[in-house]
């Protein structure tokens, strides 16, 4: 494309200055003729054509052109000196020297893991929703079949803001909120922050992320429950991952299960990470307790479902071999930068 306008032509000249500063002797001579040549030099031509411009423009273009001419002359002189004074003289540009870089930012590894998990469940028809971090006892406990006067409530030590109002101890309240608002088929994953009254140490944080999942529809069985979580584990870890389901207890599921995958570190042989069991717990899960369905106005005779909850920090630590959960909250540039893509 021809540069029809003097301003564009000037900018084009300006852009060549950087190139000029690295030119070898031969190219430098070419530049001299190309830009400042008495007959056809680009700047020469522009300056010569000033008189054809409207008076307003003439002034601005003239200024700029003269300024550029000075810069070009200086740059040529500097480069000639450089080439003349030895070290660089006549040597071709050293292409092994580093290129010019830009800063690259990284998504936090925990966010990346959350996104990846939600994406996998999207393949299984789960939509992604959120809910409030400040909750009531009713939604955090009662509706989920956790009576406050039962030891099950002690499984999660709770931060209170005022009587009956608390920081949610899990993302499970969103189960109840969703079931009250929508009719089955329900399939949701719920990432979010949760709170437990645990002191900050290498494996505990008082604030951490959780991903809740819930599927409720007609005819959902234990077999489908296992299949869905098995699919997830194989997609997230690797297709040959062994997945194990162990009986467990959560007040809001029945039957309840602890889902474990073969230890990624030792491939099942037993190591310190898996406490020599060969397996790592990745989530708590189970078939939705009929009392929870009832509490949310869903008929448990007609509908059934499954639910699960997992800790993205823990999974992130396993995946990348991060030894201390606190590193995930320190925001050390040297740490975060490792996850830039």
């Amino acid at each position: 494309m021809s540069e029809a306008f003097p301003n564009d032509q000037l900018e084009a000249v300006a852009r060549t200055i950087a190139e000029l500063r690295e030119a070898d002797a031969v190219r430098l001579t070419q530049f001299k003729v190309e830009l400042l040549g008495r007959k056809n030099g680009r700047l020469t031509q522009i300056l010569r054509s000033l008189s054809t411009l409207p008076p307003d423009e003439r002034r601005a273009v003239g200024q700029r052109a003269n300024q550029l001419k000075r810069e070009v002359e200086e740059a040529i002189a500097a480069r000639e000196k450089e080439l003349h004074t030895g070290a660089k003289s006549g040597v071709a540009a050293d292409l092994s020297m580093p290129g010019r870089q830009v800063w690259r930012g990284a998504i936090h590894p925990v966010t990346a893991v959350i996104d990846e998990i939600c994406e996998i469940f999207r393949e299984l028809g789960f939509s992604r929703v959120t809910g409030p971090e400040v909750e009531t006892e009713e939604y955090n406990f009662t509706k989920l079949n956790i009576p406050l006067d039962h030891p099950a409530a002690d499984m999660q030590d709770t931060f209170y803001l005022s009587p009956g109002v608390l920081l949610r101890t899990h993302t499970s309240p969103v189960q109840a909120r969703t079931m009250e608002r929508y009719k089955p088929p329900i399939r949701i994953v719920v990432p979010g922050m949760v709170y437990r009254r645990d002191a900050f140490d290498a494996s505990h944080s008082p604030v951490f992320a959780q991903i809740e999942g819930l599927a409720v529809d007609e005819g959902i069985t234990f077999v489908e429950f296992k299949a869905a979580l098995d699919y997830f584990a194989k997609r997230f870890f690797s297709p040959d991952t062994t997945v194990r389901f162990r009986p467990s207890y959560f007040p809001f599921t029945e039957p309840s299960a602890e889902v474990e995958v073969q230890c990624q570190m030792c491939k099942g042989g037993g190591c310190a990470t898996c406490q020599y069991t060969g397996f790592l717990e990745i989530m708590g899960a189970g078939m939705v307790h009929p009392a929870v369905l009832e509490n949310c106005g869903i008929d448990p005779e007609r509908y059934s479902g499954y639910a699960f909850g997992m800790g993205p920090e823990r999974i992130t630590m396993l995946r990348y071999g991060i030894p201390d959960i606190r590193m995930l909250f320190e925001n050390d540039m040297r740490f975060l930068q490792q996850f830039a893509e």
């Binding site: 002034r59 830009v102 109002v165 399939r187 922050m193 077999v223 489908e224 296992k226 009986p247």
Partner: protein, 785 residues
């Protein structure tokens, strides 16, 4: 819960392997956190009989023992003085490694070769006595391995028990689950020295007499059932070895034979019991009632506690003597002088115990179990076994049949299980015969009734209350791994995805592309002004409030990076913030995005000639504008009091960008930050605009701006007067001369008409209009060259 492999083996009458047990328990829902060997390091020690003891010929303080090790007689030099001929001792042969790691080597002591070593209790970690050699009271012949003769070699499993399974808090319960998969019945092991029988308790309503003690149950709500027995003429002293070994194997310290017997019952059948010294009970009476006005009790732990009306108190004729279900009192406890024992076997209400335990801030083995629910049906058997056990280990006789105060016997109704419901939930057909088999193996009684299965739940399973609970038992015993993993057709979710998540993902994408790293800071922190919502029960003052903004956490993160000598910091966060409401109630929760930048604007390059260009305020302005656009917020970034702000339609502040204060080391660059509400309307659809076919006309405009005039004011005039022909405006230069009154600012204007080629004079007309208004309204004039 600590579980002894020996104890389990006795209950199932089979030799169990600890690793196998751990695996089976894990797959039954009670994972084992650790397997701790108990005295397994004594495997090399054997029992020897000393045949002759003589003085060491070369040392006064040493003896020379002739020791029969079962195959030959060897000479052992010994430093202790208690060794006698004809008695048996533990012996470590040459090559044996002692528990402390010492390997026994044959060596000469004062000229005589010692073949191995006789061991003290402390050398074997069986006690603290290191003076004398441990004398063994055993019938085992010389040469028998020590662990075969003494019941001390064991494995202790640390079993994780979920709160719904109180029955697994005892060996019988664990053995029952294990027996169900091993297909072995559970039988309580015989008691050495068992008197053989005891009286069956006599069930009455609210009062009864046993061994001269009048027992009255007043607080039926707090204590639905109370049994008491009296054993007269006991001799309080140390328990026999087998009982001590049982308790030690699970980490319990033996106290005396009577107390050890009650503890044994606790860990065998999950029935907490308590023994009182009858002589210390005024009356002698036991009254189960609520605490009263200003009553107190000094407990076994030496602490004095108030016993108010929320507490179920066990009292004698005058005062409380125990806090029911939690702990006994100091004054009525069994001591060396005790001859007559009153044995309590009670069921306390779980909620009452929980409230008392929380109020008193103390948890005991007993309260832990009552809070989860003990076996209301198994109490008569438990007290009978306990009586026999006490007589076996402490002597004495039972003073008549125990009383059993049970005013309102509880009948648990049958649960009806529909076989088709099992298949409906589990997705696999399981035959009725198999279902019955699984349930009866756990002690449930099941029989068909009207096409369903009527199931009676045993007293030790208070967690099983409805059909689904039984279905879980079936799945658990069949084994979760035995179910296939088979995907079924599925219907898509009726729940729409949350648009805020889409917005936040876009913000993250934009800001990382601009070189910022995503940070995650804690949403709990120190106080941040009076809008901050306080936590009622914080862990520390440093984490006592919910954050009201993200910038404070990001500044702390920047400071932490400076502390590790990092100069170039670019961070952003997307997260929740909270504002307390006046007068309490739920705080208002919002989502924000914030960022901080400091240090080099670009990674330094060799061609820069070592010159750094650091971020300045213009970088944070554009970053802020990028964030505003990514969020999709309405409104323009405006200048206010030396910083940039974003206000919504109501004029409410919803974002800002500025230089921020921080604890900055001298070598660090300035820190800039921004914060913005992340909740915004969805982004409007982008509409395509047709590409121009006519050429543009460019004009540069250098203007002299008086001091008080802003570029924005100029641009507003330019835009308005430029009309349709003005395509774009770009500010490209500012110049401030020493002698100038204001400053010179230059714009490049591009003019274009969509349907014709503009001529210079067309543009001149527009330019003149612009310059006229600029001069008139703002006093702005064109700068002369």
């Amino acid at each position: 819960m600590n579980v002894s492999i020996n104890w389990l083996s006795a209950l199932l009458d089979i030799k169990l392997d600890p690793d196998d047990v751990a695996h089976k328990l894990a797959m039954l829902g009670a994972p084992v956190e650790a397997i701790e060997p108990v005295h397994q390091n004594l495997a090399g020690i054997i029992i020897v009989e000393v045949e002759r003891v003589e003085q060491h010929p070369n040392a006064d303080r040493l003896t020379l023992c002739h020791v029969n090790n079962g195959t030959e007689v060897v000479e052992v030099v010994c430093g202790a003085t208690n060794v006698q001929a004809g008695k048996k001792y533990p012996y470590a042969a040459m090559g044996t490694v002692l528990p402390g790691g010492l390997e026994i080597k044959g060596r000469k002591i004062r000229g005589i070769r010692s073949n191995g070593m006789l061991c003290s209790a402390s050398e074997l970690e069986l006690g603290t006595d290191h003076e004398g050699i441990l004398e063994l009271d055993t019938d085992a012949p010389a040469g028998t391995p020590l662990l075969d003769a003494l019941p001390i070699g064991d494995f202790c499993l640390h079993v994780e028990v979920t709160p719904n399974r109180p029955d697994l808090l005892c060996h019988k319960g664990v053995a029952r689950d294990l027996g169900a998969v091993l297909r072995r019945p559970v039988k309580l092991p015989p008691i050495p020295g068992d008197p053989g029988d005891s009286h069956a308790p006599v069930q009455t309503k609210k009062s009864g007499v046993v061994g001269g003690v009048e027992v009255t149950l007043e607080d039926v709500e707090g204590c639905p059932r109370y049994l008491a027995a009296v054993i007269e003429g006991v001799t309080v002293g140390p328990s026999p070895d087998w009982l001590q070994a049982r308790l030690r194997s699970i980490g319990q310290r033996p106290i005396n034979n009577v107390v050890d017997a009650t503890n044994y019952m606790l860990f065998e059948v999950n029935q907490p019991m308590h023994a009182f010294d009858r002589a210390k009970l005024r009356g002698p009476k036991i009254i189960i009632r609520r605490g009263g006005e200003s009553e107190t009790l000094t407990l076994l732990d030496g602490e004095e506690r108030t016993v108010d009306s929320t507490v179920t108190a066990i009292c004698d004729a005058e005062h409380p003597v125990a806090i029911g279900g939690v702990m006994g009192g100091r004054d009525s406890e069994v001591s060396q002088q005790t001859t007559d024992v009153v044995l309590e076997c009670a069921y306390f209400d779980a909620k009452r115990i929980r409230a008392t335990r929380k109020a008193m801030k103390m948890s005991t083995e007993a309260s832990y179990r009552f809070e989860r629910g003990t076996d209301l049906q198994g109490m008569a058997d438990a007290i009978q076994r306990a009586v026999r056990l006490i007589i076996a280990v402490a002597g004495g006789t039972e003073a008549g049949p125990p009383v059993d105060l049970y005013p309102k016997p509880v009948k648990t109704p049958a649960i009806f299980l529909r076989p088709e419901r099992v298949a409906h939930l589990l997705g696999v057909e399981i035959s009725q015969k198999d279902i019955e088999g699984y349930l009866t193996s756990l002690g449930f009684a099941a029989g068909p009734k009207n096409g369903r299965l009527a199931v009676h739940v045993p007293g030790w399973r208070p967690d099983v209350a409805r059909e689904e609970d039984l279905i879980e038992e079936i799945a658990r015993l069949r084994g979760y791994d035995s179910f296939p993993t088979e995907m079924r057709p599925l219907r898509p979710s009726s729940v729409p995805s949350d648009m805020a998540q889409v917005t936040e993902a876009r913000v993250r994408r934009v800001l990382t592309a601009l070189g910022l790293n995503e940070a995650r800071t804690l949403s709990l922190g120190p106080a941040q002004g009076k809008e901050a919502q306080a936590v009622l029960n914080p862990l520390s003052t440093e984490e006592a409030y919910l954050r009201t903004d993200l910038i404070a956490g990001l500044i702390r993160s920047a400071e932490r990076n400076w502390a590790v000598r990092e100069r170039n910091i670019r961070l952003f966060e997307v997260g929740s913030v909270f504002h307390a409401k006046d007068g309490g109630g739920m705080p208002v929760e919002g989502r924000h995005v914030a960022g901080v930048i400091t240090g080099a604007r670009r990674p330094p390059h060799w061609s820069d000639g070592g010159k750094y260009v650091d971020f300045d305020r213009w970088d944070v302005k554009s970053l802020f504008e990028e964030a505003v656009q990514a969020v999709g917020a309405h409104g323009t970034v405006l200048e206010e009091e030396g910083r940039w702000v974003l206000r919504d339609g109501n004029g409410e502040l919803c974002g800002w960008a500025d230089e921020v204060d921080a604890d900055r080391p001298a070598w660090a660059a300035r820190l800039f930050g921004f914060e913005l509400d992340a909740v915004a309307a969805p982004k409007p659809l982008i509409r395509f605009q047709s590409l121009p076919v006519t050429p543009p006309v460019e004009r540069d405009l250098a203007l002299l701006l008086p001091a008080e005039v802003t570029a924005r004011q100029v641009e507003e005039v330019v835009a308005r007067r430029g009309g349709k022909l003005l395509e774009s405006t770009r500010l490209f230069d500012e110049f401030r001369g020493k002698d100038m009154k204001g400053r010179s600012v230059a714009w490049r204007l591009v003019f274009r008409s969509p349907d014709r080629t503009l001529r210079d004079k067309d543009v001149d007309v527009v330019l003149r209009r612009i310059l006229e208004e600029l001069k008139e309204r703002l006093g702005v004039e064109r700068r002369e060259a």
